[in-house]
């Protein structure tokens, strides 16, 4: 299979990679660029463990073809480590015990991060809707909902 060069903007840096027509963004992020926070849970767009941001919007990296991402701004949890909104979410996830094995956590955090991207108030139904594409088999979701709502509340109260 013929490989083509692709230039990706990942976490603020330009990364050169080689990809066939069939290679997904997830494969390139993980196996070539070693950004492994995005996980391969199902490779079919269902579990959400591979969720990353493309131009600020959550996408399934396992359903996104690498060659289609030329020039798009890709962000993973690694790249948001200094971002106050992501840090606040991470603190709440830790404080609330919102992960156990944490295999789903990077994808969960990206979806929650996108939800909290605007100033609009966020209620439990919003959290459930926004995270409904991210499967977790450990926690029963309760502490995840609490963590995201806590972050949303802190944000609005200016903490």
């Amino acid at each position: 299979m013929e490989k083509a060069s692709v230039s990706l903007q990942v976490n603020g840096a330009t990364c050169e990679a080689q990809a066939t027509l069939y290679d997904t963004l997830l494969t390139v992020l993980r196996d070539q660029l070693l950004f492994t926070s995005a996980k391969r849970g199902c490779n079919q767009g269902v579990c959400g463990a591979c969720t990353v941001l493309a131009d600020g919007v959550p996408v399934r990296a396992c359903l996104s073809l690498a060659l289609d991402c030329e020039g798009r701004r890709i962000e993973t949890v690694e790249g948001l480590s200094a971002n106050p909104r992501m840090q606040a979410l991470q603190r709440s996830f830790i404080r609330r015990g919102a992960f156990q094995c944490a295999f789903c956590t990077p994808g969960m955090l990206i979806s929650a991060y996108a939800l909290l991207g605007s100033d609009r108030p966020v209620n439990e139904a919003d959290v459930r809707k926004s995270l409904s594409g991210n499967l977790c088999r450990c926690t029963g979701y309760k502490k995840i909902i609490e963590a995201v709502l806590e972050t949303a509340g802190d944000r609005r109260s200016g903490r």
């Binding site: 992960f99 156990q100 944490a102 926690t139 029963g140 502490k143």
Partner: protein, 782 residues
């Protein structure tokens, strides 16, 4: 050593996982995230047949593909090398025969995953198809084709009674069952069926093996026990255990799926052949098709009662589909029977069952280990009995509860039992008594359901090593794999309080078969209890040695010394007279006695069966563990138009002995509840003939955040077991055992029809509603 825990101590506090930062930052490394220099990627060719003889392989085309470095097949393993926890019946890869659709037939190591997958499809295998048996009933027919021709000759660790496709059988006989029926005023009998459930850890199974220049193998894998990986790989490849070192990365959950082998033997075999590191991560489909799943159970339950509700006699008969290999199935059969009288006093019992080989993927350990299935049958029947006798379901259960000091089925004494308190708590929190019939929006119905259950935790052997390092910091090494539930943190909390040091003074060694003491595994809800006890023992030895040094330094008797908070030892009642762990460790390292190391190991040795009381054949688990308890109340809403069920609110009270880390205990209860909710309502592996029809997350649904109850209240009950570390027992599985039963009891209460088959799909519930409507039309007086 303080046995109550310090006020400033770590035990009893909701401390975040030690790995919290690396997990929240996405830096945690799971098996798929490991890369080694010159590493190859592997792919598997799976069997298209449920049962066939392998006549020959043609590997030429696969080997000719550029980038392919090694191919392995059944020809690469020896006939004699078989593995299995209870029955040695399984090769590292299919040899001579395939026994289920999806079984690994060949595997390829290549430069990339894509090349490996392409090469796997280029392998030609010639088969002679054989008739397959797909149900236990068919497999037990007199002329049924044999899944294993030589099953009776396989090595077994217990008296299995193997005959034909009957893999094993177990029975318990206690009291006098015939007398029991005679003494009963009423006898109830029902047949129950549960479905196969997939574990669906979000991390699929995988492994990475590497050979060092001396020929030793290092193997990382998604696992629940580095020691079980070592045993299985060495048995199936004929390797001395000393030649294989098993390590663990972070684990993306297990639920039983990763306790016994998946692809580790295959990956080790590929690495040995390729002489390069090899990594194989299963696709989600393969993870569904070739690892293992929860057993489908067929259960007959017959219960005799007095008119006042006292239970007198119980007979239980189960039939288990074990799939193609025994795996943990004999254990699941024996354990489910041991739990078949529930946490109740029933003087006369006969509980027996059979486990059958079929041409399906193996069934094995899954959170609850047969108890969710058994509890579904027995606890829904108890509601039927309560209804018939005009008793409240809680009152019926209270009347029959086993108490502290009572014997379990088999005879082992219960040393701590918080079940009555669990019942009190869920009754009060849910408002059970007042809200038995609930108002509901139009075209819906609401009802509450209840269940009680138990779990036994312990099993087999465990160790711990506590080392006081030169600077006074502490390294704890237990060999227990943290699969995400947080045992690293819990064991560190126990160690910290045992030595009265702050938690940050303790680091955890990663499980390593070269350097860790044996730990049978993170399974059977056993780590807090068994390994916690070893941590206490090893820390106690360190304390003793520290005090010996201190008595020489301070010139006083050992008995006059005490550990002081913060890592020093002082003379009781004397202030300003303390010597730090660092000073003692330096003295030990450089002057007197040698480095301070504490170690402890033990095996759970309380007998399950008192032969004077109970007659047993098969596998009763001779020595099993201590008892945890649970009571659940759920409020269910049924949509009368669709038959769909939603869990609105749930209260789950677990007697865990002592919550070492309450937030983690809650996390276990909540997670177990939602996994049980999936089992109750929607999850089911479906076979279309010999082929699994829904091996994808598109077609096999697990609960999403939308299905989680609006209110899910975990309630911790602490009965302080006298044998547990700080009184702790277990929590990993207890929370799932009664979920399906409680939900079914709510649905049945609302329907007035008794559903006896899981899952309670909207189709089944709707059909029951329609039946009920017809009955009402015929009997208008109702």
């Amino acid at each position: 050593m303080s046995d109550g825990g310090d006020a400033q101590g770590a035990v009893g506090k909701s401390i975040a996982q030690l790995e919290a930062q690396e997990k929240a930052s996405g830096d945690a490394k799971y098996i798929g995230d490991l890369y080694r220099p010159k590493m190859l990627h592997a792919a598997v060719l799976q069997s298209p047949h449920a049962h066939a003889r392998i006549l020959r392989y043609d590997l030429a085309e696969a080997l000719a593909l550029p980038g392919v470095r090694a191919v392995v097949t059944g020809d690469d393993v020896s006939e004699a090398n078989r593995m299995g926890a209870f029955i040695k019946d399984e090769h590292a890869i299919a040899k001579d025969k395939v026994r289920y659709v999806g079984e690994a037939v060949a595997a390829v190591a290549a430069d990339t995953e894509a090349i490996a997958r392409k090469a796997a499809q280029l392998i030609l295998v010639e088969y002679e198809e054989l008739p397959a048996v797909l149900t236990p009933e068919d497999a037990l027919a007199p002329d049924a084709p044999a899944v294993h021709e030589d099953a009776a000759a396989y090595f077994k660790v217990f008296d299995a009674g193997t005959e034909g496709n009957l893999c094993s059988r177990t029975s318990f006989h206690e009291g006098d069952i015939e007398r029991g029926w005679r003494e009963s005023d009423r006898v109830f009998e029902g047949r129950y069926e549960t479905q196969p459930q997939a574990h669906v850890s979000i991390e699929p199974c995988g492994a990475l093996a590497e050979i060092d220049p001396a020929g030793r193998i290092t193997l990382w894998s998604a696992n629940q026990s580095v020691f079980r990986v070592q045993a299985n790989v060495c048995e199936s490849l004929g390797l001395p255990m000393s030649k294989l070192r098993c390590l663990t990365p972070r684990i993306g959950a297990g639920f039983g799926n990763k306790m016994e082998p998946h692809v580790q033997p295959l990956v080790a075999l590929l690495a040995m052949k390729a002489r390069r590191p090899v990594k194989l991560i299963l696709s989600r489909e393969q993870d569904f098709e070739m690892v293992r799943a929860r057993h489908p159970f067929k259960i007959r339950v017959k219960t005799g009662v007095k008119n006042d509700g006292r239970l007198v006699a119980r007979e239980v008969e189960v039939l288990l589909d074990g799939g193609a290999f025994a795996d943990d199935s004999p254990g699941v059969l024996g354990y489910s029977l041991l739990m078949s009288c529930g946490p109740y006093r029933i003087p006369h019992a006969h509980c027996h069952g059979r486990l059958v080989y079929t041409n399906k993927m193996r069934f094995g350990a899954f959170r609850g280990f047969g108890v969710p299935q058994m509890t579904f049958a027995t606890e829904t029947q108890l509601d039927e009995i309560a209804d018939a006798l005009g008793l409240d379901p809680i009152a019926l259960r209270r009347k029959n509860l086993k108490r502290e000091g009572d014997a379990w089925l088999g005879g082992q004494a219960i040393l701590s039992n918080g079940l009555a308190e669990c019942l009190d708590k869920v009754q009060a929190a849910s408002g059970w008594t007042a809200k038995r019939s609930l108002s509901a929006p139009p075209h819906t119905r609401r009802a509450m359901g209840l269940s009680c259950c138990a779990h036994i935790s312990g099993l087999l052997s465990t160790g711990a090593i506590v080392r006081l390092l030169e600077d006074g910091s502490i390294l704890l090494n237990t060999g227990a794999v943290d699969i995400g539930q947080g045992c690293n943190t819990v064991l560190a909390q126990i160690c910290a309080d045992a030595l009265r040091v702050p938690l940050d003074r303790i680091s955890l060694a990663s499980p390593d078969t070269d350097g860790s003491p044996y730990n049978w595994g993170t399974t059977a809800s056993r780590v807090t209890y068994t390994t916690g006890k070893s941590v206490m023992g090893a820390a106690g030895e360190v304390e003793k040695k520290i005090k010996e040094h201190a008595s020489e330094i301070l010139e006083c008797a050992v008995d006059d010394l005490e550990l002081l908070p913060g890592g020093s030892v002082g003379v009781k009642g004397v202030s300003d007279c303390a010597v730090s762990f660092a000073a003692i460790s330096a003295r030990a390292h450089w002057a007197v006695g040698g480095p301070i190391v504490g170690s402890h190991s033990w095996v759970f040795d309380q007998k399950t069966v008192d032969p004077k009381r109970t007659a047993v054949i098969g596998l009763p688990f001779p020595q099993i563990g201590i008892f945890s308890f649970n009571a659940i109340v759920v409020e269910v809403e049924i949509d009368e138009t669709t038959g769909g069920c939603a869990i609105l609110r749930a209260w789950s009270a677990c007697d865990v002995g002592r919550a070492v880390n309450p937030q983690m205990v809650e996390g276990q209860i909540e997670g177990a509840f939602v996994q049980g909710l999936g089992f109750a309502l929607v999850e089911e592996l479906v076979w279309d003939g010999p082929r699994l029809a829904n091996p994808t997350l598109m077609d096999y649904k697990i609960p999403t955040i939308q299905e989680a109850p609006s209110l899910l209240q975990p309630i911790i009950v602490e009965s302080h077991d006298p044998t547990g570390p700080f009184g702790a027992k277990s929590v990993g599985e207890i929370g799932i055992n009664g979920v399906a039963a409680a939900i079914t009891n709510a649905v049945n209460a609302s329907l007035g029809v008794r559903l006896r088959q899981l899952p309670l799909t909207s189709e089944r519930v709707l059909r029951a509603l329609l039946v009920q409507e017809e009955q009402c039309a015929v009997e208008p007086a109702r």
